[in-house]
Symmetry: C2
Subunit: 196 residues, 2 copies
DNA sequence: GTTTTTACCATGCACTCGCATGATAAAGTG
DNA sequence: CACTTTATCATGCGAGTGCATGGTAAAAAC
């Protein structure tokens, strides 16, 4: 068994175990032992791939970033117009069903955690611009296609759109908004961007 | 010394110690012992006012809600027009200086924590509508005064505005936006609501 | 076939955790 | 005065924490 192990797969496996623990019991319940048990491996095996708890959390955070990027890209690929891409990708970031709630619970936990951990803050600062510039680009494309008002500041609109998505997460997870409420809010906002 | 103790003051004192611990070392560093040390009292004394850790966190969360409410009310009182009130109160919620960053760090930690703790989720669900309805009311007043476009849906605009404020917090605390960036974003968004 | 490397495991250590308990001193009450 | 109540404290307990270490079996290298 040794030597012929896919390290990348192992790391992903550990990261996903961290995700499940965070989702089920919160960030404070994450420990090397608990994660090892969740991953179905011994604590020593986990330590072989990740020497410290900080590294483990960082791994899980990076993996979440990758995952979100993949999901957004996948959804974007199935749309035809820039505005459709924009709407679909923002919806993909919102906690509208179990899977997206799962992602958002973990993301929210890391948002709080990254404020206190410099390593995680760095990862956040690296990932954020990718999504923001993607949004801005789609907005510009939609403007070029005449789907969005030409006078909009694409960069600012992207920031506002992303902030809206993030800001609605907790209220929804906590039960204040229904998924329908959130989707209606997004459409209300997008509609305003069209009329100019 | 016993008997003539102001319970409310003690509770506030403990809650503020919790706030400082969350701000400095994060939610995961909160423990009865650490909070007691931060509050300058023995662990037993803390336990007298708050029997369990959950209760302690809940106390700190409720206190934050009260604090935010007070700050918003105080700022609102010094404005003349509804639109000024709206702008000033949203700015009050953003991490634009040390004191407001302090508040937002703690708030963000509780947003993540409340997803996993039902007690905290209840507190969140109780506090949220207060702010949202306040915003909606100010928007309607601004519309009546001709400061905001009449066709706006006050409820939805309030939700979007608050979501924007919440959503921008992490990115700012992590250093992606400067305070000036955030203020500019808000003004950009508010300006759009005026022109109709 | 010996040696080295890789992947993994069990265990130990010093420490912290939440929580419960029993003692104690000060203040009000009869 | 005795006596109850209030506020506080020190301490103990079992469990869990991050991390380090030494050992081990299997595969690869020579």
């Amino acid at each position: 068994m040794p030597k012929i192990v896919d390290h990348e797969a192992r790391r992903r496996h550990i990261a996903e175990a961290v995700h499940r623990v965070i989702h089920d019991k919160g960030m404070e319940s994450v420990s090397l032992r608990v994660v090892a048990a969740e991953a179905g491996m011994s604590m020593g095996a986990v330590q072989y791939y990740v020497t410290t708890k900080d590294q483990m959390l960082l791994l899980a955070l990076e993996r979440i970033g990758i995952w979100i990027g993949e999901r957004v890209a996948a959804v974007a690929a199935h749309q035809s117009t820039p505005l459709d891409v924009l709407r679909a990708t923002v919806l993909e970031l919102l906690p509208l069903d179990d899977e997206r709630s799962y992602l958002n619970r973990i993301g929210l936990a890391f948002q709080a955690s990254s404020v206190v951990s410099e390593h995680q803050a760095v990862a956040m600062r690296l990932g954020l611009p990718l999504l923001l510039s993607f949004f801005a680009e789609q907005i510009r494309a939609a403007q070029a296609a005449g789907q969005l008002a030409a006078h909009l500041d694409a960069g600012k609109e992207a920031s506002i759109l992303y902030a809206f998505a993030q800001g609605v997460v907790n209220a929804t997870l906590v039960g204040h908004y229904t998924p329908e409420d959130v989707a209606a809010l997004l459409d209300y906002h997008l509609a305003r961007l069209c009329t100019g």
